[in-house]
Amino acid sequence: MQTKDKNLSRRNFIRISGMTGAALTIGYAMPALANDAAEILTAQKASEQGIELTAWISIDKTGKVTILNHRSEMGQGSFQAVPQMVAEELEVSLDNVNIAFAPGSQTKYGSQLTGGSSTVRGAYTRLLRTGATAREMLIEAAAKKWNVNRSECYAENGFVIHKPSGKKLGYGELVEEASKLTPPKDVKLKRREEYKIVGKPLPRQDNPNKINGKAEFGLDVKIPGMLYAVIERSPRFKGKVKSFDDAAAMKVRGVKKVLKTTAPVFAVEREGVAVIADSLWAAVEGRKALKVEWDDSAFEHLSTEQLYTRMKEDLKKPGLSQRTGGNAEAVFQKTEKKVEAIYETPYEAHACMEPLTCTAHVQGDKVEVWGPIQAPDWIQQDISGRLKIKPENVTVNMTFLGGGFGRKAFMDYTYEPVLLSKEMNAPVQVVWTREDDMTQGPFRPGAVYECKGSIGGGRINSFQAKMAAQNMNWQWSPQPDKTAYNDSTTEGFCESYFETIPNYSFGDVPTESPVPVMWWRSVYSSTNGFAFESFIDELAVTAEKDPLQFRKQHLGERYRAVLEKIEELTNWKDKKKNDGWGVAITFCFNSVVGEAVKVSKNAGGKLKIDKVFAVMDCGWYVNPDIIRAQVEGSIVMAYGAAVSHEIHFQDGKAMETNFHQYKMPRINEIPDIEVHIMDNEEKPGGVGEPALPPFAPALCNAIFDLTGKRIRKLPFNISEV
C-alpha cells in the first residue's frame, strides 16, 4: 500500500536539487516561452552560468526521483500523466518517483494555464526529452566509472547495466558523476513499441491520498496566525457598495474587522464587504449580521427571458463572419431540399465541488499565495502587476483543486485575499460559500444558434451556422474591438466537413450583456457541438439517409474510423425498430470523439437512456484508464447540462443559489457508459474536455430516432419527452 507522501514541498525540492553532486538535477534554461528546442542544463552548469534552472527532474543519492509537475491537478490526471512520461524515458519505476507542484512562474515553466486540455499535448516532447537526457547521462557516467564502451550499457528500472558482464549500478550511485557531465544535445526517444509505462493503465499516484482525507485542497491550507474572511459581494455585476452597517457584525465574537473591498472581474471591479474573523464560523456569522446597501444603477436588471429575446433578435442581424467557403446563402436559396433550425443552450455554473478559496500573506513587497489554481503563472503576473512588485516576489503555491473546469483559471478569487492580507497584516484565507460560488459567475455563456443547410445529390451542399452569444474575449477590455468576430464559431465542428461541404459560413453576432462569462469544460464546443451535430442529423433526415452513414459520407479517414468503431460496438446495422439510436461526432482540442446513445421507453412510457458508447481518438496517449475516467466524467457533466441544470437570471441576479436549485445529476440517473480508445499514429490530443460536446446531440438525436421529436433547446425535461 502506498501511503508515502507524494506531494513533496517545493522548499524541500529546491533544497535537494540545489545540492550539486548530491543529486542529478536537470531542467531547462528556458526563454520566456515554452520551446521544445530549449537547452537542457544540469543544476551545476546552470549555477556556473548564473542561470536559474527550471528543474523538471532531480535524482538524489538514494535513487529517488522527484519530478516537478508544472500543471494543476484538478482531477484530469496531470499529476499522473506528467511523471508517467518522464519515468518512461528515464527508465524508472513510478514507485520511485515523487511528484511536486511547480510554483507559478511563466519564465520558468512556459504556460502553466491548465486549460484547453493541453498538458500532455503541449509538453510531451519536452518531458520525454528531459527523461531521455537524464537517462543518457546516467549511462555515460556508469560507462566512465567502469571504463567500458557506453554502447555496451543500458538503463533499466533505475539501474545502468553493463550487458557483457552483467554489472549494474543504481542511479543513486551515479548521480554525482552524472551531474558533472554536459547533457547530450540530441537524445534518441524510445519507439512506442518499446514503452513500458506510457500507454499503460497505471493507477494514479494521487489517489492513495484522495481516499483517506490527506490530499490538501485549497480549503485545507492553514498558515500560522491566519485569519478567515467571507465577502458579501454585490449580487448584481457592477453593483457598488453604497453603505454598510457593521455594528451587529462587529459584535460577533471572533470578528476582527469589516471593510469594503474589491476584486477585478475582467475589466471592471466588483465591490464587496469583507468580514474578517479568527475563525471561519465567526466570519460567516458576522456576515449574517452585516447590512449592506448597494448602488445598482450601473447594472441592467435583466432576466433570462430578456437575454434570450436579445440573442434571437441579434440573429436577425448580418453579424460577423469567421470562416466561409463558396456561397452558402445563394446555394441555400436555390436548393429545394433544405432545413433551418434554431438551437438554444443555457448559461451554466462551473459548480466545482470545492467552492472557491484562496489564501495570501503579504509581507512588505513579498506575497505568498496558496490555493487551488488553474493558472499559477497568470496569478503571479496579475498580483505583481497590481501591487507593482517584481514577479519573483510573488510565490504561488499549488494545492490540489477540488474541480476546476475553467473557473479556477480566473483571477478574482486569488486577488481578494491579497488585498485583505495587506490590510490586516496577517495571512488571510478567503472562503466562498456555495451560494457565493454559484451566483457570482463567471458562467458558461448561453447561446442561440441559427443553422441553415441544404442537400444536393444526397450530400450537404450548403451549411450555415450563426451564433448569438456573449464574446468572452470582449470582457478583458473596457473598450473591446466590436468589429472582431468570435474566433470560436467553428469550435467542435469536424475539420474535414470543410473539405466536403462546398459552401459554408460560420459567424456570430456578439450579444451585449453584463453577465460575466468564462470558459466551461470544452468551452464553445460544449454548446457549438449541440447545434452542429443536431443539425447534421436534421440534414441526414432531410437527405433520407442513415445519420451515421451520412456523416461517414462527409468525413475524412480519421473520423470515419471512429464512426466505424461505433458501428462495430453498437451493432449499428442491426438496430431494432423500437430502439432509439443517436450518434454525434466532434473535434475538440485536437481529439475526435464519437458517441452513440441508445434510448427506449419503459412500460409506463418514460424515456430511459439504456447505454452510452464513446469512442475517443486522442492520438498518442499516456494513460488509458485516466482517459476512460475523463470520458465518463465528461459524459456525466454533459448529461447535467443537457437535462438537469441551468443558471437563470432575474432582476440582474443569478437565481440558483445552491444544489437544491441547481440540480446536479445523481448516481441513479447515470446510464452504463462504454469507452473505447483508438490506437493510431496521430499526435496527442486533449483528454479532459473533448468527450463532453458529442453527448447532448447524440442523446437528442436518439430521442428523435425513437419519438420523432426534435429537441432544440437545452436543458430539457427528460421525464416529459
Binding site: E216, G402, V636, M664
Partner: protein
C-alpha cells in the same frame, strides 16, 4: 447588550472522534463540520454546500452516515463520530481498497463523503443491489462524474468484505 459581550455563546464539548476525545469550546449551533475541520483539525471532511445537499461532509454518527454541515455541535456531543481519517489508518478498509482498485477519484474532493456513505451502506447491507446503491448514494454529488466507478467500487468492496469474512 454592552459591546464587549458578543452574541456567540460558547460552550464546552467533549467530542469522541475516531476513538479520541476532543475538548472544544464552540458556539452550540456551530455545525459539526466546522468543529471537525477547524477545531479538531481533521481536514478530510469537506465543505460542499452547507445545506445537506451534496454529501461532501458526510461522517458517521453512531455508525450512521450524516451530513455534518447541518448538524449542530450541541447534538453531536456524547455521540460516536467517525471521519474519513478514522476509517483506517493505512488505506486498508475494504471500501478504500475498492476505491483504489477501481481508480474512482478524479479531483477527489467529494470522495471522503462518498466513501463514508459507501462504508455505512456495506456495513448494514453487505450485498447491495443497484437500487440499494442508488438509495444510499443519491445524496452525494460528484462534479467529476465518477458515478459509474463508485457503483463498481461498491460492488468490489462487497466482494472484498465477503472474502475477508470467509
Amino acid at each position: 447588550m454592552p459591546p464587549f459581550i458578543k452574541p456567540i455563546l460558547m460552550a464546552s464539548y467533549n467530542l469522541l472522534i475516531n476513538g479520541k476525545t476532543y475538548k472544544v469550546e464552540a458556539d452550540p449551533k456551530m455545525p459539526l463540520l466546522w468543529v471537525i475541520r477547524d477545531l479538531a483539525g481533521l481536514h478530510g471532511t469537506k465543505y460542499g454546500c452547507g445545506m445537506a445537499q451534496c454529501g461532501a461532509c458526510t461522517v458517521h454518527v453512531n455508525g450512521n452516515p450524516v451530513p455534518s454541515c447541518t448538524l449542530p455541535v450541541s447534538s453531536a456531543a456524547k455521540q460516536t463520530i467517525t471521519t474519513i481519517e478514522g476509517l483506517s489508518n493505512d488505506n486498508t478498509h475494504a471500501v478504500q481498497k475498492a476505491w483504489l482498485a477501481e481508480q474512482v477519484p478524479q479531483c477527489g474532493y467529494c470522495q471522503s463523503g462518498q466513501i463514508m456513505a459507501a462504508a455505512a451502506l456495506l456495513k448494514r447491507n453487505p450485498n447491495p443491489t443497484d437500487q440499494d446503491i442508488d438509495a444510499a448514494m443519491m445524496g452525494h454529488i460528484c462534479r467529476c462524474g465518477t458515478y459509474p466507478r463508485i457503483r463498481k467500487a461498491i460492488k468490489t468492496a462487497a466482494q472484498i468484505m465477503a472474502k475477508a469474512s470467509n
